[in-house]
């Protein structure tokens, strides 16, 4: 531990901290570190009253979400301690504890926080002195860093909920009759939801529920009943109904609805309602993705999400009239290291394509996460902050046109920002694939099969929910794939009626969504495809995850389907004419 002389913004700062009383959350394992702290106590070893200890059985229980969550809630520092390597009570649990801390540090720095606010120290049961000294030194470090810059902003109450519950089971968490009534504010949210989504039009035909891929696998989630409950004024039941978190926001029900009810938006607003009633639910991967987005949503932080642009000799031009919005979330690789997928590839290949088309875009250096996942999980506050900061920063680049590769990001910028910020984005939004089809039409470029593509078999195209139903880009990707001469086959559910990959804004990864993912892969296989191309990196990531976790024994067939990112597919096969 070295004395630190700079704060998060890199400014020099005094070590004594003045009036500042730091608050540190310390996670300790039961066997070594907690005992070490006990030992320090018995021995009357003095150290600052800055720490609050959370006892775990093993430091292997640590999750980066706990650390980032603590920081988001206003902790000035997080300390993790466990048994020394080799001494772990659970053989090597502390190894994953160490990985969690490393991931948390990396993500915190990406989000613009000083990584020194997170500290790992192995402490054995006999090392009371070490424990005391560590607290002392870490407190001084935090003094040097000053208060957590996020502490000043109000914290979304559902975040508190998040720290103590991780949703695993599939049951409804309450008895309907026991549901309390919603608050006055909650009722207001519900009324607005009804008006703005036209839910009052429902004629109870049941098509939404019939087509819902979640209901087919998890019948407790019942879109039509949610609307009916709203109609009957059962607002309390709605606010406390945890099935709403199973919705994937995939938009199939909206596609099927004959009276144009915006059901996904209705469910989204129910989630806001649930949050306002303190009934939020933590997302997948310990809510890490949402926490990361929220960390980035604070104006005090200056996240840096441009690491993808450093490799591959990409060419940018700050004076260009085109800006590239990467939608790079940064956090994916950190979360599931065992899935073999380079999430940097998608933005990188998109810029490669742009360069090949003769476009050198502006690198959007001040880009923050789009907030797509926060929006669809009902966190209006953090999303609003991201929307206005991103929209403003995008305009500040001076470009006239924004090019996207991530469909979620494009949907968020193009369709959601203007509504939430109340002003037009001011830039034309295009997807990189649209530029490719334009260039093909002008015969500036062509797509050629790679030498090893021969004999790889047919390709199927998976319409991601955002690319298809929300951006309406159905033909362009297909046109590009067929241009190479590859055989394109269609799955049973395609275009507007394509099923979802099972990831809805990283809210749940449960048996239903996993079955859905598997079903989609089976569909691809049955269509006779050996390769599946998808425009969305979330889809790619989760299909790959499905293959490496479930696929092997249960359905050997799905393993054969190679998952390919659309941008990568195109970049590798594009040639200039």
């Amino acid at each position: 531990m070295t004395g630190n002389t700079r704060n998060d913004a890199g400014e020099a700062i005094a070590e004594d901290g003045g009036d500042f009383k730091p608050l540190i959350v310390a996670f300790t394992c039961n066997w070594c570190s907690y005992a070490g702290a006990d030992f320090a106590g018995i021995s009357r070893m003095q150290y600052p009253a800055s720490i609050r200890v959370v006892r775990l059985m093993c430091s292997g229980r640590m999750h980066p979400g706990f650390i980032l969550g603590a920081l988001e809630m206003g902790a000035d520092g997080v300390m993790v301690s466990g048994c020394h390597p080799g001494d772990c009570h659970y053989t090597f649990g502390n190894k994953s504890g160490q990985e969690a801390v490393e991931t948390a540090i990396e993500m915190a720095e990406m989000a613009g926080l000083n990584g020194d606010r997170i500290h790992l120290q192995w402490v054995s049961a006999s090392e009371g002195a070490l424990f005391a000294r560590t607290v002392d030194e870490f407190t001084r470090t935090i003094n040097g860093l000053g208060p957590n810059p996020l502490g000043r902003e109000p914290v979304d109450p559902s975040v508190v909920e998040m720290a103590c519950s991780i949703h695993e089971d599939m049951t409804v968490a309450f008895e309907p009759s026991q549901a309390p009534e919603a608050t006055r504010e909650g009722l207001e949210v519900l009324r607005e939801a009804f008006d703005s989504t036209h839910a009052y039009r429902c004629i109870e035909c049941g098509k939404c529920t019939g087509i819902c891929p979640v209901n087919a696998r998890y019948p407790a989630f019942h879109p039509r009943k949610l609307v009916i409950k709203g109609m009957y004024g059962l607002d309390g039941e709605l606010a406390y109904d945890h099935t709403i978190w199973a919705c994937l926001e995939c938009g199939l029900c909206r596609e099927a609805c004959r009276v144009d009810v915006d059901l996904p938006e209705f469910v989204r607003r129910l989630r806001s309602l649930a949050r306002s009633e303190g009934q939020g639910e933590v997302g997948t991967h310990g809510g890490l993705i949402h926490t990361f987005d929220r960390l980035c949503s604070h104006s005090h932080n200056e996240p840096d999400l441009t690491s993808w642009s450093k490799e591959g000799r990409l060419r940018f031009d700050p004076r260009s009239d085109t800006v590239f919005v990467s939608g790079y979330a940064g956090a994916l690789e950190q979360i599931i290291p065992d899935v073999e997928y380079d999430t940097k590839a998608s933005p990188r290949d998109a810029v490669r394509i742009l360069n090949m088309l003769g476009v050198r875009p502006v690198l959007f250096e001040t880009e923050r996460p789009s907030g797509h996942d926060l929006y669809y999980t009902g966190d209006n506050n953090a999303f609003g902050r991201l929307a206005s900061m991103n929209a403003e920063a995008l305009r500040a680049t001076g470009a006239k046109r924004a090019v996207f590769v991530c469909p979620e990001t494009m949907h968020t910028y193009r369709d959601l920002y203007p509504v939430v910020t109340g002003e037009p984005l001011g830039l034309e939004c295009v997807h990189v694939i649209e530029l490719v089809t334009e260039a093909l039409a002008e015969e500036k470029v062509a797509l050629r099969m790679l030498p090893n593509d021969q004999g790889l078999g047919a390709i199927t195209y998976h319409d991601s929910c955002r690319m298809g139903r929300m951006l309406g880009l159905y033909d362009e990707p297909r046109q590009v794939i067929e241009e190479t001469g590859d055989e394109l086959v269609e799955m049973v559910h395609n275009r507007g009626y394509a099923d979802c990959c099972g990831v809805g804004a990283w809210q749940r990864c449960d048996p239903a969504s996993r079955q859905l993912r598997l079903a989609r892969l089976v569909e691809a296989h049955e269509a006779g495809a050996n390769r599946l191309v998808t425009p969305c990196s979330r889809c790619t990531f989760h299909f790959k995850c499905q293959q490496c976790h479930d696929g092997a024994e249960e359905t050997p067939s799905t393993e054969d389907v190679e998952i390919i990112d659309l941008a990568t597919y195109v970049a590798e096969r594009l040639v200039k004419l």
Binding site: R201, I203, E204, C205, G206, K207, C208, T209, G210, I211, N215, A216, P219, H222, R224, K225, A256, C257, R258, V259, D260, V492, R495, G496, Y497
Partner: protein, 849 residues
Amino acid sequence: MTEEENGTSEGEEGKAPTEEAPRIGVFVCDCGLNIAGSVDTQSVADYAGTLPDVVWAGRQKYTCSDPGQMLIEDMIEEHDLNRVVVASCSPRLHEPTFRGTVERAGMNKYQFEMANIREHCSWIHLYDKEGGTDKAKDLVRMAVAKVRLLEPQEETKVRVETTALVIGGGVAGIQAALDLADSGFKVHVVEKEPSIGGKMAQIDKTFPTMDCSICILAPKMSEAGNHPNITLHTYSEVQSIDGYIGNFTAKILHKARYVTTDCTSCGDCADACEQLAPNEFDIGLATRKAIYIPFAQAVPSQYIIDMNTCLGTEPIACGKCKDACEREAVDLEMNDEVVEIDVGTVIVATGVDVYDATAIPEYHYGEYPDVITTMEFERLVNAGGPTSGHLVRPSNMKTPKTVAFIQCVGSRSLKNGHPYCSNVCCMNTIKDSLLIREHYGRDLKIDVYYMDIRAFGKGFEDLYNRSKAEGVRFIRGIPASITEVPDNHDLRIVVEDTSLGRVLTRDYEMVVLSVGMEAAHDAEKVQHLLTLSRTSDGFFLEAHPKLKPVDAPTQGVFLCGCAEGPKDIKDSVTQASAAAARAGILMGAGEVTVEAITAVVDEDLCTSCGLCAKVCPYHAIEVDTKAKTPAHVIEAACAGCGTCAAECAFGAIHQRHFTDQQIEGQIDQATASKAEDLVLTFACNWCSYAGADFAGVSRMQMPPAARVIRTMCSGRISVDFVLRAFANGAPTVLVSGCHLTDCHYINANQQTLKRVEKLWKRFDKWGIRKERLALAWVSAAEGAKFQETITKMSEIAKTVTAKEIKETKDIIARNYKFKAEKMARARAKKAGADPGAANKAKAKAKNGT
């Protein structure tokens, strides 16, 4: 002013200008306590007595009662009254009553006027007796100002041609034609298909009696074909219709059939023909030859050649049919021809089209062979159909073991369909389910997927219960998707049973989509032919939904059958008879009276610019802009909206009974009101005035700010009127009319919109506050909207200061020339070098009344 007005407009009829001085009687009604409860009627009557030319004024308890009417008659005689004002209720209620009263006493009924002090005053200011009484006095003063200028009018009559044109030869058209023909009128029926019969000819059975459709239709078809008073024009289209009520001229295109009437429909030609095409009558489920007869019972029973399929008119190309025909009825040189007919009335029976289910991608109609529509089903179970009445799966020609019906396909849907209920599909499916039971018994399983079963007609519920008793399962829920099981063409339905809240997956061998009706695809063409209106659903709009259900807004035109809205055969026939009766009334009388509110041209002032003809929704004005002859009004075609009078920049055309001078008289008296929050309100007779009445009847309270001037249509409200009101010092002006699609005069209110928008632009330029002039579309049902608008405008009026009013007056004086001044100048010019006369006319125009 009166003299001048009269002399120029009525000159041709040689009516003497009313030299006699106006002698006005004012009758103020208590209406029990309805008016007297919140208006001091005695003081209103006393005030009326002080107004110029009023020779008698008094109050009564009930003016509309017999003693009340007797008093009016007595006073007319006693005081030699030549003008009468009754201040009581809405003219929409009792104007006909009092017009009759004054007529009985020997007065001209057009010299009568009402002041509406009940619906527009006492009922909406229940708690403000002082304000209400002041307002009532204003309203009486306005009515007196108008009545003083009212001219006696004579209603004209026009001849009605006793021949009718029926467009469309479906069951509705056939019924209307037969009814008229049996009444002794000549009827022309125009049908675009080669045979009459329409959709009913394609249906197998009818509900709820299960009658064979063609068996009950065919006799009617042949009766129509043989009736001495009926001329059929099949395979024909109406190209144009000109004229007006009683006197229409229609051009009808006879498309070449290439087979003459010598055809005996023996079929030798078709046997010889080798060219095949899908059979339209069987919806493509079977084929026909290039020379064909649409179906066995076709009327006329005459073959036709489809030139798109035929090898060509050149006999060398093929000519087999020509060779086969012993009667030499095949004429490959036949040409299209156009015939012209004169008719007095037109009946529109153009029917509907069937919803195209390919628009719903999740049902894969047109892609999966065993997903069919109800019309295809009708042909499949029909003995005369392609399978001789055997219900088979198109994929394998075997009878299905399980059939699902999906209801509301294309109906009750805002997306991929129509928002309305198609009215017949529920019963049609119930009937179809029983047909299957009849043919195949209980072994064939039938499930019906529905949202609501609408079995509302006579005998309908019985049929529904019979179907349920026969084991047909009705499952509440509309399938989300249909997917084909790859190997055997079975159809997998995923549906939420919304009664149980459970999602079901079921396989069927056949799925029947119960498709709805949609407005005929050529309805727009018919609309323009006859200047009709259509609702947002695409069906033709009737003149009044309750009281004139088969009259079109265009006089002399009537509607029946599905062209007016989706309905079953019984309702179509009922409506057809009603339309025939309505047309028969006109033709039986042989002439028609036109209300004396039509437009009249002052030929001296007309510059033949053609603007009046351009804005006339009825094409009732003829003007030759090249020859520079003055405009001419076809009185019988004029509906009396007054849009032309408002549009003419030279005052050369005016509307009888609603002249500029009469309305300006009302404006001047309204703006002389003492009310500080005055909202000078123009309201059209049909919607907004009725809306204001509705507010009154509903006792919706509002400040006594409005002074309503009634015109027949908001299209009558000219820029002059609005600016005159402001120049007189009105703080605010409200223009109100029917909603844009609901105009009683087709689309005259579009002109209102244009004028008000133009005024707003001028106000911007001139620096007059735009919100002082409001435009509100208020329907007859929107009393609350009227209340809201007046309340809001009254608030705005209060913010207008005396200084602002003075500035407005100056701005208008500086920037705008009123029509009256232009007219005076034009007259002076015509009068030649008599500057004295011109000056006199100008002075008169400025002084108004």
